[in-house]
């Protein structure tokens, strides 16, 4: 069963977004598409919930966003990692790995 981001532990959505953006600036739809494809369809974001997160991270200075033209000639808001965002990505990626390591150990033994 595909997981939606809101089912996943705290911070997962942030991590996914930051990771997706580490491959270059993208708009909200692009990010959700990227996550979907790279997770081989295992993660289906509830796409609407992307935006509060994007705006929050922009507010907190991890992302910068501005309106640009897509290759298809559509206007979309593109987000890019800031240096603070890059640092943050390293940080939560580390934390996530530890966390999921812990979770899999628990799953193995209990």
């Amino acid at each position: 069963m595909p997981k939606t981001a809101s089912d996943s532990p705290q911070g997962a959505l942030d991590l996914l977004i930051l990771k997706a953006l580490s491959r270059g600036a993208n708009h909200g739809f692009g990010i959700s598409l990227l996550i979907e494809e790279t997770s081989d369809g295992l993660i289906h974001l509830e796409e609407g919930s992307l935006y509060p997160a994007l705006h929050r991270m922009e507010r907190d200075g991890w992302l910068s966003g501005d309106w640009q033209q897509t290759p298809n000639g559509r206007r979309a808001r593109f987000y890019a990692l800031t240096s603070a965002g890059r640092k943050r990505l390293v940080e939560i990626e580390e934390r996530w790995k530890n966390y999921s390591k812990g979770v899999s150990r628990v799953l193995r033994y209990v």
Partner: protein, 872 residues
């Protein structure tokens, strides 16, 4: 914080941007779907489905920018408004209740603000005092010129000390002449009050000297009315009473005389220094001073005692004991007469506001009961108690604000209509307006109304979901409601007794016997122009011919000319102890109080309907020069000649002049207004010589009908003689009604408040009983189904309301007792503890309460038990 605020204001822009961003997302997904071979419609639908709830996404995104706090408050408000829209009857009732409370209190506040709270319109006004003697002749502080001159030389606890003589009628004698009110002031009067002229300057010392250059300052209103606010007017000359004076300055708009007299212009008082030297007494002045910083009025009074003792030496021994030195804060001096009434009205209107708040609280309580399931659900879903409290408060604040805004409208309306019934002068109604202070007051009231009415229901613990879902009969009627109802009843009762007492006083005032008959009696007041009637002979001729002409008007039964007219207003008077009685030693001890006297033509007693008790009235012959007769009223005759043998005795008023023979004793007329204790009075025959050449007199005209046409005939009679002479005509009824203006205003307002309070309390009781009945409908039906009679059920409900009402009445009686004893200075001819008033008011409230409770109870008792139970 600032950025959030900025975002808050840029809300629309932000909204558009978020919307566009999301729309573009959905579009891209739809395009992808189409490319994958879906038809456009399903492509769009699938894209939307993938996106999820767009409203929620938008809201959450927006809240990132606006901050949770703002957003959730906005949500609460939004939610509250939506709730209220769904229940228009409740909303309208609640908003109108708050409107009534806030509107009435704001209107009254704007009136009493200047009297009770607002700073005086002078810089450091709290340091201004009124300084002078107080004596039986003149209870309001006054100064004598000689003392004032002495005092000014001494070391005083004042920074500034100034005086004025009062207002006189004066005439603007140039093209389109105009009668003005001139304030005669010392040259330093305006600066001593701390007032700077708007343009020009104040008077100079030189202008205040007799024979100094003529100077005049204009008040703002007069400057506007007469000179169209032309700033070039300063330096121009105007002719006042025929004397050319220079306009030196214009007073600012806020300027008012410290005693609130109406003035058009100020002129220097120009005391003659020679006249202000002891043993002369000099002019009568009103003194005002600015206390040195740190000096209280009491300290100043203490420090001035030696000076006062010195002045007292020049006071005739007869007066000494009765003369006091007074240093009175200016605010107290200005408001002494209206302070009590203002406090009473303000207190009463706050009581109405409180009743209104309690009413809304009650309505909200009832509503809260019906919303228990909702609240329980919210609590179960994790809303904290604080969160629910906030929701409650937001809702009631929304109500409060809506009501407050409507209330300001009501206040504006009231203020526009109040001056119609309000007395002139001291109440400041002309100045009362909705300024920022009133707005602030109304805002405060609205917030208080919101918090008070919202807090009470919010204090109830949110029920558990299970409890809320249970059968409704399990629910108890909220305990608070009883207390609220009882409080409302108590307040309404207190208001009602107060209003009844004031109405009773008003009736007593208007109907008290004045000693003369007041029907069909017209008073013609004429003040002759000082230039055109400069010679006494001209004035005498005017009055003589006027008397003759008016006598020929059809319908006139009798008439008299007098220098003054009862029952109030300026009349000449002297102290009792200077009236010598032939064959008795002069009275040396005390003044004996005041004795009023008038100079009247023989028709005076007939015209007023004053009874001749002994002797005879005046005759035409008594007006001849050299006549020396006098008529006393009973009060004076009793006092001076207790044996009742006044007629034939000889007296000499004022210790000088001829001895006068008492030829008659007449019944006493009121001469101290409606409330004052009348002074004894005597009459002289208005002599037909130069002494009768008064500038100002009254013609009293008794007619058969007292119609409008009489006034017209009198006016044309005057115009025939002098077309430019202004005439004031009023009926005695009007004059008496005018004297009762202030008590009427108080009574009308308090009655209005009492009615509003009662109405609100009744609505509250109606609502609560209705709620109670609906809660117990099931119980009532079961009881009726097993055989209880309708009347028994009715009684069951009524018994409860009677219990609340009884508690309220008891508390109300105590409150009323206390309040009405504070009202005592406003009452006339009625005791503050009059049991009839309390009993009547209690019965009225009880009756109203029963009616309010009866309506919903009857409805409940009439319902068909079977049907109701089935519905349950």
């Amino acid at each position: 914080m600032m950025r959030r605020l900025k975002d808050w204001f840029r809300r629309n822009e932000l909204d558009r941007s978020i919307e566009e961003e999301m729309a573009s997302h959905v579009e891209m997904r739809a395009e992808l779907n189409r490319n994958a071979g879906m038809d456009p419609d399903s492509a769009q639908r699938a894209a939307r489905l993938r996106f999820g709830n767009p409203v929620s996404a938008r809201e959450r995104t927006r809240s990132v920018h606006l901050g949770e706090w703002f957003e959730s408050i906005a949500q609460d408000v939004h939610y509250a408004v939506r709730q209220y829209r769904r229940d228009p009857l409740f909303t309208v009732t609640a908003v109108m209740t708050v409107m009534l409370g806030v509107g009435a209190s704001s209107a009254v506040f704007s009136v009493v603000d200047r009297i009770l709270f607002r700073d005086l319109p002078y810089p450091n006004g709290e340091r201004l005092v009124s300084v002078g003697f107080s004596a039986p002749i003149e209870p309001a502080e006054f100064l004598l010129g000689a003392d004032y001159v002495e005092w000014k030389r001494a070391k005083l606890p004042f920074d500034q000390f100034t005086s004025w003589r009062g207002t006189v009628d004066c005439d603007l004698t140039e093209a389109s002449p105009q009668r003005l009110s001139c304030g005669e002031v010392e040259w330093n009067f305006v600066p001593a009050l701390g007032i700077r002229p708007l343009i020009g300057r104040s008077f100079t010392a030189e202008e205040d000297l007799p024979g100094g250059p003529g100077a005049v300052m204009l008040t703002y209103a007069f400057w506007h009315a007469r000179f169209h606010a032309d700033p070039r007017v300063v330096g121009r000359g105007v002719s006042i009473d025929g004397v050319n004076s220079n306009i030196v300055g214009v007073l600012p708009k806020e300027f008012e005389m410290p005693t609130l007299n109406r003035v058009d212009v100020l002129v220097p008082q120009r005391l003659n220094p020679a006249g202000q030297r002891r043993p002369n007494t000099g002019a009568v002045l009103r003194g005002f001073a600015r206390l040195r910083p740190g000096i209280t009025p009491e300290m100043a009074q203490q420090q001035m005692q030696p000076l006062f003792a010195e002045s007292l030496k020049f006071v005739p021994p007869a007066f000494r004991k009765e003369v006091k030195l007074v240093v009175h804060p200016l605010r107290a001096r200005r408001t002494q007469e209206v302070r009590n009434a203002s406090v009473m009205l303000f207190g009463a209107v706050l009581a109405v506001l409180l009743i209104a708040c309690l009413n809304v609280a009650n309505l909200l309580l009832a509503r809260a009961a019906s919303r228990r399931p909702e609240m329980a659900a919210r609590a179960a879903l994790g809303a904290s108690r604080a969160r629910l409290l906030r929701q409650n408060l937001t809702e009631s604040l929304v109500l409060g604000m809506a009501g407050g805004m409507a209330g300001l409208g009501l206040a504006a309306l009231l203020l526009r209509s109040l001056p119609g019934i309000a007395p002139e002068g001291l109440l400041h109604l002309a100045n009362a307006s909705l300024d920022w202070r009133v707005f602030a007051f109304a805002l405060t009231c609205s917030i208080i109304a919101g918090v008070v009415s919202g807090l009470v229901p919010a204090l109830e613990k949110p029920p558990t979901l299970a409890a809320a879902g249970r059968n409704r009969t399990a629910m108890r009627a909220p305990r608070f409601q009883h207390a609220l109802i009882s409080t409302q009843i108590a307040l309404s009762l207190a208001l009602l007794t107060g209003a009844t007492l004031l109405l009773e006083s008003l009736r007593n005032l208007e109907q008290q016997p004045l000693g003369f008959s007041r029907d069909h009696l017209a008073l013609v007041h004429i003040t002759l122009n000082r230039q055109r009637y400069a010679a006494a002979q001209q004035r005498l001729a005017f009055w003589e011919s006027l008397e003759q002409t008016v006598a020929t008007i059809p319908g006139v039964q009798s008439l008299a000319v007098s220098d003054s007219a009862p029952p109030a207003g300026r009349a000449r008077s002297m102290i009792y102890s200077v009236i010598d009685v032939e064959g008795r030693p002069p009275i040396a001890d005390g003044t004996g109080g005041m004795v009023v006297w008038r100079s009247v033509t023989p028709g005076y007693f007939t015209t007023l309907g004053t009874r001749i008790v002994q002797g005879r009235p005046f005759e035409a012959a008594d007006r001849q020069p050299g006549s020396d007769v006098l008529i006393m009223d009973e009060q004076l005759a009793h006092r001076m000649f207790p044996q009742g043998d006044a007629v034939g005795k000889r007296v000499r008023p004022g210790r000088s002049g001829p001895w006068r023979t008492v030829v008659g004793v007449v019944s006493a007329n009121s001469n101290a207004g409606l409330t004052g204790k009348s002074d004894p009075e005597y009459y002289l025959a208005r002599p037909r010589n130069q002494d009768a050449g008064l500038f100002e007199s009254y013609v009293l005209v008794r007619s058969a009908t007292g119609s409008e046409s009489l006034s017209r005939s009198i006016r044309s009679a005057v115009a025939l003689r002098d077309a430019e002479q202004p005439v004031e005509i009023e009926s005695m009824d009007q004059r008496i009604a005018n004297l009762a203006d202030r008590p009427r205003f108080n009574a009308v307002l308090l009655t209005g408040f009492a009615c509003a309070g009662l109405l609100l309390a009744a609505v509250g009781l109606y609502g609560v009983t209705g709620f109670l009945v609906s809660q117990r409908q099931r119980e009532i039906c079961i009881r009726m189904a097993v055989g209880a009679s309708r009347s028994r059920m009715l009684l069951m409900v009524l018994e409860r309301t009677w219990r609340w009402t009884a508690v309220g009445l008891l508390a109300g009686l105590a409150a009323a007792w206390w309040m009405n004893h504070a009202l005592v200075s406003l009452l006339f001819g009625v005791k503050p503890g009059d049991p009839v008033v309390y009993l009547g008011a209690s019965l009225a409230v009880l009756l109203l309460a029963t009616l309010a409770a009866l309506l919903p109870s009857v409805r409940a008792a009439r319902s068909d038990p079977a049907r109701t139970l089935r519905q349950e």
